[in-house]
């Protein structure tokens, strides 16, 4: 069977599986809809968290990103895993003990305003709990930013593997997510994510194992990375460093090359870590387990399952990088590998020869490997014909396509090719290549559904039920929850079909914002009994304002990067969340001694989340919602 038939088969099978699970897990009450009834086993929640966390970007792009960044790629590996230590130690068990539905729920209940105002009007209720409203908007912003990228990822996988139009792919993805998210809510999402985890991890590991055996003879790719090459016997990393240097790239394992100086690596890693711990769609997963002790185990399982992929990604990066440099350099038209030809059609990799008929992939001006990027069909053809003319007339006429593509920043292959083409590089069977497509879809859909649920619960629970219509009936609330998911799916789909040009840039924004807002506020809310509402709100607003200002003005208005006299190249916008976080902590702690102590009820709430489980009765959510 051809790759395409296999792909249709795998995608069809996995989609029916997700829909089947959704039907079995359909729910009838808000507790089932928002937190899966709070009865998910720790290991299952760990898998669901892992699938929720590993997005289309982790799956398709991360290995490629590391492959071109070398050592500095470690910021993503450490940042996106280190955050789970903070989450498991500082947040998860306490938030589970608190036992509500959403992240704004905690922020709102921990930082209320004194209840002496009029609560009969809408404005009265908003003024009564501004912290909740700020938290809702942060949660919505972070989640929408993120979900847009996921829907695009679904479309890209469909178009590359099934030759379906990107937009049709997005619509198919929307329909699938819509069905299982509205039917089963958090319960349906949780169990589909468990299934999606296995699909995506199998699809990621199988090609990695095969290529590891091929290059080093070691069947464990994570260890194969540190092993010796079968050919020549040199350690793989040493050989790669040597090739990289010969071709003018910086050495693969050497830290702090290019723009990635020590301060920037440190700040970006810290921002990603604290941002991870503050992302609402990850935090709410811990509301779904039975108890705080299950939440602790669940944190371990989550990182364990994530680590399986995250330890493999750097191995794939090195294998693919080595393979690519070795097979492409010096190859003639006839000797080019098959994967090169099949991916050349998609524009992920392009070859503009200088006339000698041999490929050269280097860091210098003689590089001949490029990517299409966002170039249109007509423009790309023009570049190629002009380049051919330039070569044929020996520079008298036409235009050097290499100089042109270099100028617009399209040097080197697209980073997505590393994961997408690995199975073909290793000459694997066509069913494995098809499996990678199903894995990419699983990664994108699982993250999208988790985010949609956060959007739904923030709007339907925190805005509608807790702020707009406190008297709403259970049925009405469930209906609003489902309706909001429906609307959010459509909005996310529109983002996928008409991607705003800034999606990739604002992902840094999502992490920065989560790092500067939720993380410090929740940590202080749990670990300090003294921090009151005013300092917390000022801290959040300062953190968000500072981070947003820096990212917006550097990314969109070309403001010069700040150096603070410490960083030579200026602070990478991805790392500014770390400073925003410190500012939030600082503002809150400085204002605390000069503002009022929190109310007795709030201190009792803090005490109760710190107690061992089972000492005081679990809060009844619907009764507790008296304000």
């Amino acid at each position: 069977m051809s790759v395409q038939t296999w792909t249709f088969l795998f995608v069809g099978l996995s989609f029916s599986l997700y829909l089947g699970i959704a039907w079995i897990c359909r729910v009838r009450d808000t507790k089932g809809f928002y937190v899966a009834g709070g009865g998910v086993p720790a290991a299952a929640n760990g898998m669901a968290t892992a699938a929720d966390w590993m997005s289309a970007a982790s799956y398709i792009s991360m290995a490629g990103l590391i492959s071109t960044m070398g050592y500095a790629g470690g910021v993503y590996l450490m940042g996106w895993t280190g955050g789970f230590v903070l989450l498991a130690l500082l947040l998860a068990p306490y938030l589970r003990k608190f036992g509500r539905y959403t992240v704004p729920d905690f922020v709102g209940d921990r930082f209320p305003v004194r209840k002496d105002r009029d609560t009969d009007t809408l404005w009265g209720r908003i003024a009564n709990n501004p912290a909740r409203v700020i938290a809702v908007f942060c949660a919505l912003f972070v989640s929408f930013t993120y979900v847009a990228g996921q829907m695009r990822g679904v479309g890209v996988v469909f178009s590359r593997f099934l030759e379906v139009d990107v937009n049709t792919g997005v619509v198919i993805g929307m329909v699938i997510v819509f069905v299982y998210a509205t039917l089963g809510g958090m319960k349906g999402i949780t169990w589909t994510q468990v299934a999606q985890y296995w699909v995506l991890i199998t699809a990621f590991l199988v090609p990695a194992i095969a290529i590891s055996i091929k290059l080093t003879g070691n069947p464990i790719p994570q260890a194969g990375l540190g092993d010796r090459l079968l050919e020549g016997g040199l350690p793989l990393l040493e050989k790669l460093d040597q090739i990289q240097r010969d071709l003018g790239f910086s050495s693969y394992t050497e830290p702090f090359t290019g723009g990635w100086d020590k301060a920037n690596v440190f700040l970006v890693a810290l921002a990603l870590m604290t941002g991870t711990a503050g992302l609402p769609h990850v935090i709410v997963r811990f509301y779904t387990v039975k108890s705080p002790s299950a939440a602790r185990w669940s944190g371990f399982y989550a990182l364990f399952f994530i680590a399986l992929l995250y330890l493999t990604a750097p191995a794939i990066s090195v294998f693919a990088r080595y393979y690519m440099l070795e097979t492409l350099n010096g190859a003639t038209e006839q000797k080019l590998p098959q994967w090169f030809k099949s991916w050349e059609q998609t524009g992920l990799i392009l070859w503009l020869d200088d006339g000698d008929g041999r490929v050269r992939y280097s860091a210098g001006e003689d590089n001949e490997i490029f990517r299409r990027g966002n170039l249109g069909e007509a423009e790309l053809r023009r570049v190629f014909t002009q380049h051919q003319l330039h070569v044929d007339t020996e520079g008298a006429r036409g235009e050097d396509g290499r100089a042109k593509l270099r100028e617009i920043g399209l040097t080197g292959p697209d980073r997505d090719i590393i994961v997408l083409a690995t199975p073909e590089m290793a000459n694997l069977a066509s069913w494995i290549i098809a499996l990678v497509a199903a894995g990419g879809l699983a990664a994108a859909l699982s993250t999208a559904s988790g985010l949609l649920l956060v959007i739904s619960s923030s709007v339907a629970h925190d805005l509608y039920y807790r702020t707009l219509a406190p008297g709403a009936s259970e049925r009405m609330r469930l209906l609003v929850g489902r309706g909001v998911i429906g609307i959010a799916v459509v909005v996310a789909g529109l983002f996928g079909i008409y991607p705003p040009g800034f999606v990739s840039q604002v992902v840094a924004f999502a992490f920065g914002l989560a790092a500067a807002s939720f993380f410090p506020t929740i940590v202080l809310g749990i670990f300090s009994r003294r921090v009151g509402t005013i300092p917390a709100i000022c801290g959040m607003v300062t953190g968000i304002g500072f981070t947003a200002f820096y990212i917006i003005s550097t990314v969109f208005f070309d403001m010069d990067l700040w150096t603070f006299g410490l960083v030579e190249n200026g602070i990478n916008p991805q790392g500014i969340g770390a400073i925003g976080m410190v500012l939030n902590f600082a503002v809150t702690l400085i204002l605390t001694p000069i503002t009022r102590r929190p109310h007795e009820e709030v201190v009792a709430l803090v005490d109760s989340v710190r107690e061992p489980e089972g000492l005081s009765p679990a809060p009844d959510i619907d009764v507790a919602a008296e304000h």
Partner: protein, 103 residues
């Protein structure tokens, strides 16, 4: 019966539980910072002159791309095991207090 003495004992138990929790967390977070931010980033260039024993990994690079992740998984495992034991112990202690109070 709810004597002040029993209340006091209960509060002591809760305070000890919270203090041990904070101590454990502090130790684990210090390791987290040393391995992730320290070995993986701040000292990575210096560590790169060594190799992980018996393999081809430069040490700083290994910490940044693999060692830190392995350590993080281990840290959460230790936290889950120790904390859950601690919680069970204090729950028993408190249950015993309640029983004595009832007698």
């Amino acid at each position: 019966m709810n004597t002040p003495n029993k209340q006091q004992l209960l509060q002591d138990s809760l305070n000890r539980y919270w203090k041990s929790n904070l101590r454990l967390m502090a130790v684990l977070l210090v390791i987290w910072a040393c391995v992730g931010l320290g070995c993986g980033i701040l000292f990575a260039d210096w560590l790169n002159q060594y190799h992980l024993f018996g393999t081809g990994y430069p040490l700083g690079f290994w910490f940044a791309q693999q060692g830190a992740i392995l350590t993080f998984v281990a840290l959460i495992l230790v936290y889950a095991v120790v904390m859950n034991r601690l919680e069970a112990k204090h729950r028993r202690e408190i249950a015993k207090l309640a029983e004595e109070g009832a007698r």
